[in-house]
């Protein structure tokens, strides 16, 4: 078993509430999770479960109240902006909404060179690298001079993937990267992510509300509910025969694309709900 790349221990995130003496809002109640090099850990949950907050805390975009986040044996929970700049090489992000995660007034070339010149790459070298990146995510070379707003959702998400991979990171936090995409685009973007992982050895923390998507891309899956991790294990086990009652409810709630199987699924769900109501 390889060493952990990312180690989160008993993480608590609290957001201050408005008003003088109101209690702060606790988004995460002591979450622990590991990500090993080159693997995908899927993080499933419904809205308000804290899955996105966990991703943002790792990226330094949410306040860490208690607990620790270690990346390659360095504590990064309270890293300063200067330390974060060093981390940018190893830790990157792909956001959900490809419409707001790319600055509409910048060309794709500008967007992709930005992370490069933070690390001091020269102009000439940066341009070559940007061309290689576009090639990797299968966008045409002439995309460099065009604005992000000229692309479709799937193509924008490819630009966002290229930006995340520009510095050859070791871990990418993917926050619902395919939720805003059409069905047929979803599958191709996921396949691209898997292919890039296999060739580059990058690890993903893959946040999603969709059990089907998570099952497709994850080696391991963790399920979150109301700010806590309720179940964690191998991807195929958690997404087919889960143990925790919440995960079972989640699994049965997702409709399957076949009327007769879905009817059976629905009956199972009603039985489970009746059972859980009795308890």
């Amino acid at each position: 078993m390889p060493e952990s790349l990312l180690e989160v221990r008993d993480l608590v995130v609290e957001y201050p509430s408005k008003g003088l003496r109101s209690k702060p809002f606790r988004a995460l109640h002591g979450v622990s999770i590991d990500v090993r090099p080159g693997e995908t850990v899927g993080l499933v949950g419904e809205s308000g479960s804290g899955k996105t907050t966990l991703g943002r805390a790792i990226l330094g975009l949410a306040p860490v109240t208690e607990g620790s986040i270690r990346f390659e044996d360095r504590e990064i929970g309270h890293a300063s902006r200067r330390d974060r700049r060093g981390l940018a090489r190893d830790l990157q992000v792909i956001f959900q909404d490809p419409y707001t995660s790319l600055n509409p007034s910048m060309t794709v070339g500008d967007i992709l060179t930005e992370p490069l010149w933070v690390t001091g790459v020269r102009r000439q070298a940066a341009q070559t690298q940007v061309r290689e990146l576009l090639d990797k995510v299968r966008l045409p070379k002439d995309a460099v001079d065009r604005y992000a707003r000229e692309f479709s959702g799937g193509q924008r998400q490819r630009v966002a993937i290229a930006r995340a991979l520009a510095l050859r990171p070791k871990l990418v936090v993917c926050d619902e990267p395919v939720s805003a995409l059409d069905l047929s685009t979803q599958a191709t973007v996921l396949d691209l992510l898997i292919e890039l992982q296999e060739s580059l050895g990058v690890a993903y923390l893959f946040v999603s509300h969709d059990l089907g998507v998570v099952r497709y891309i994850s080696h391991r899956v963790a399920v979150m509910y109301q700010g806590r991790l309720v179940e964690e294990g191998d991807g195929d086990v958690v997404t087919s025969s889960p143990e925790h009652p919440y995960t079972r409810r989640l699994l049965l709630a997702a409709p399957v694309p076949d009327p007769s199987r879905q009817a059976a699924n629905r009956a199972d769900r009603h039985r489970l709900l009746a059972q859980q109501a009795e308890l």
């Binding site: 995908t40 959900q96 995660s101 069905l183 080696h219 195929d236 399957v256 629905r266």
Partner: protein
């Protein structure tokens, strides 16, 4: 793996026209720009253009008429009016520019910092801006003149400080709006320093509105400056438009033209600046308009003839079955006065008690079909041909008053975003009971009882409390239940549901689908169910219509379409479903490929 679906080619690059290009294509923009450039040129070239020194006076030229030597005539002191006007422009424009620059030097950085960091600096600077704006500018100028002396330049710097809150507010509002965009987060993760983020990401966004603001402020400054000079706060020795106005005013009966020339100059300059600002605003709004999340209008891609016959069997294009509840024949919907057609002849039937799923990806036109039935196409969209009938009665071409008796009463509608379809300023119960009272003519008390029954029926635990609640006090799932209660409140025959569960969590979605199925069976409703999710279709629909780019490509009973999809596109969509595919570990094991 990734070759299953070909990546659609990039659309041909549209003719990109920058903001400047757009201003130059606007007649008002180009006229005002030319006028401004001419004024600027005349001001700079004043020493060359002026017939004589602006201060030279001659007794012969007192109130001189228009002549070759004095193209605009002479003033009360025998000085040349044209020379004074040209040199006066220098004072006016320079004074106004000083005020503008002062306001920008203070307002821009303060606004950027307040917008980006927020917190204490934001509170303090906003407080200071409020204080400055509360002060009457003219009185401050008059008071400080006694302290700093009668220099017009000092006055304009002070006036610039008074104007700074305007620039500050604009920059702060724009910047704090951008602050929460995901691309700023992405830049933070990339390790960009704050200065770089402000300079690269925020300044770009602030730039446009600020230029527009500046053009307006410059016009104001020129007029205020002239006003101060008119009141005699400038140097009486130097020519300026304001002092010329003052002299003209004193001699208004002997030589009215003395007043009209500087008046005309002021009018032209401020009008040109105001028109230029307006043109710039139009250009900026066109350029930075947020792209519609869902493309409502999708042009057919080049290469596929829009009228190619669908390969799946389409719904009987001829006569509609006599028992059809909703019958659509050859529906075409177009935008932009018929120039962009988004629905290319769609025909479908919904029988009583039947749930018909209309499935497609974004841009397929499925929502356009649903909205056409309701007569609620967005502005610019219209049904160009075809027929829609409800229980044999045509709906197209009927007056709005007729449609009002159909919508809500005979056709219920469940929208996608529950929250944006409830008016935030009215209580939930009032919004529902109003509909019942209008359509069914019930009394206030009877309507209230009916709505409470309905709320209980859609599974709301405490109907009385929800009745009194405002929309922001209930969850998204509850709001969707409320809207479903509203849709069935007048016992409609047909229900149109446009992605009713897309915005909800899966567990809530399953509950809402259960509710919809129960209601449909209980009341024998016909339902047109618009969705992109095949799982949802499998859960509730009897028949499925697959739409692509404004056409129906397959129309068959639900179980058949899942078992033996005929059209390539249906197969492609079903093949893209991830549910039911082996998990990643299982796939890796099958190919003998371990963890990377």
């Amino acid at each position: 793996m990734s070759q299953i679906v070909s990546i659609p080619a990039l659309p041909a690059a549209p003719a990109r026209r920058g903001v400047i290009g757009k201003v130059l294509h606007d007649p008002l923009g180009i006229i005002s720009l030319v006028v401004l450039l001419l004024i600027l040129l005349a001001t700079v070239l004043a020493p060359v253009l002026a017939p004589q020194d602006p201060g030279r006076s001659s007794l012969d030229d007192i109130f001189a008429p228009i002549s070759a030597a004095h193209p605009l005539g002479g003033d009360s002191a025998g000085r040349d009016l044209l020379s004074r006007l040209l040199y006066g422009a220098q004072v006016s424009l320079l004074g106004a520019s000083i005020a503008l620059l002062t306001s920008l030097v203070i307002g821009l950085p303060a606004g950027l910092i307040a917008g980006y960091y927020g917190r204490t600096f934001d509170s303090v600077s906003s407080w200071a801006a409020n204080l400055l704006q509360a002060l009457p500018a003219i009185i401050v100028l008059l008071a400080l003149r006694t302290v700093f002396g009668p220099s017009i330049w000092t006055s304009m710097v002070i006036f610039g400080v008074m104007l700074a809150p305007g620039a500050y507010r604009l920059v702060r509002a724009t910047a704090s709006g951008v602050r929460n965009e995901l691309y700023i987060d992405a830049a933070l993760v990339s390790g960009l320093s704050d200065t770089r983020i402000i300079a690269r990401h925020m300044l770009r966004v602030v730039r446009g509105p600020l230029i527009m603001h500046s053009a307006m402020v410059l016009a104001i400054c020129i007029n205020i400056q002239a006003g101060l000079e008119f009141l005699g706060f400038g140097d009486p020795q130097t020519a300026s438009w304001g002092s010329m106005l003052n002299e003209g005013f004193l001699n208004i009966f002997q030589a009215p033209q003395m007043l009209s020339w500087p008046g005309l100059a002021l009018f032209l300059t401020s009008a040109a600046l105001a028109l230029f600002a307006g043109s710039l605003r139009d250009a900026l709004q066109a350029g930075t308009a947020k792209p519609a999340r869902r493309r409502r209008v999708a042009a057919p891609p080049a290469g596929t003839a829009p009228d190619a016959p669908p390969s799946g069997p389409p719904a009987g294009n001829g006569e509609s079955p006599p028992d059809a509840l909703l019958s659509i024949r050859g529906l075409r919907v177009a935008y932009g006065g018929g120039s962009v057609e988004v629905v290319h002849g769609v025909s479908l039937d919904v029988a009583r008690g039947e749930v018909v799923g209309l499935v497609g990806e974004s841009g397929s036109g499925k929502t356009q079909v649903a909205l056409s039935v309701l007569g609620l196409l967005p502005t610019g969209g219209e049904v160009t041909s075809g027929a829609i009938a409800l229980a044999g009665e045509p709906l197209l071409g009927r007056p709005a008053s007729f449609l009002r008796t159909v919508r809500g009463r005979r056709i219920g509608y469940i929208p996608q975003e529950p929250m944006s379809n409830l008016d935030p300023s009215f209580r939930v119960g009032n919004q529902l009971s109003e509909v019942v009272r209008v359509h069914l003519g019930l009394s206030r008390a009877a309507a209230r009882d009916r709505v409470l029954d309905l709320l209980a029926r859609v599974g709301i635990p405490d109907p009385a409390r929800t009745y009194r609640a405002f929309p922001h006090e209930i969850s998204g799932g509850m709001a969707q239940r409320v809207l479903i209660a509203g849709a069935v409140s007048c016992d409609p025959e047909l229900l149109i549901a446009d992605e009713p569960t897309t915005a909800l969590d899966v567990t809530v979605q399953a509950d809402i689908l259960d509710l919809l199925r129960d209601l449909q069976q209980e009341k024998g409703l016909g339902v047109l169910f618009v969705t992109h999710n095949f799982g949802v279709v499998a859960d509730v629909c009897d028949r499925v219509l697959v739409m692509r780019q404004g056409e129906i490509v397959e129309d068959r009973p639900a179980q058949e379409i899942f078992d033996t999809p005929r059209h390539d596109y249906t197969r492609l969509l079903l093949g893209s479903m991830l549910d039911g595919r082996p998990a990643r570990l299982a796939r890796a094991a099958a190919t003998g490929d371990g963890r990377a």
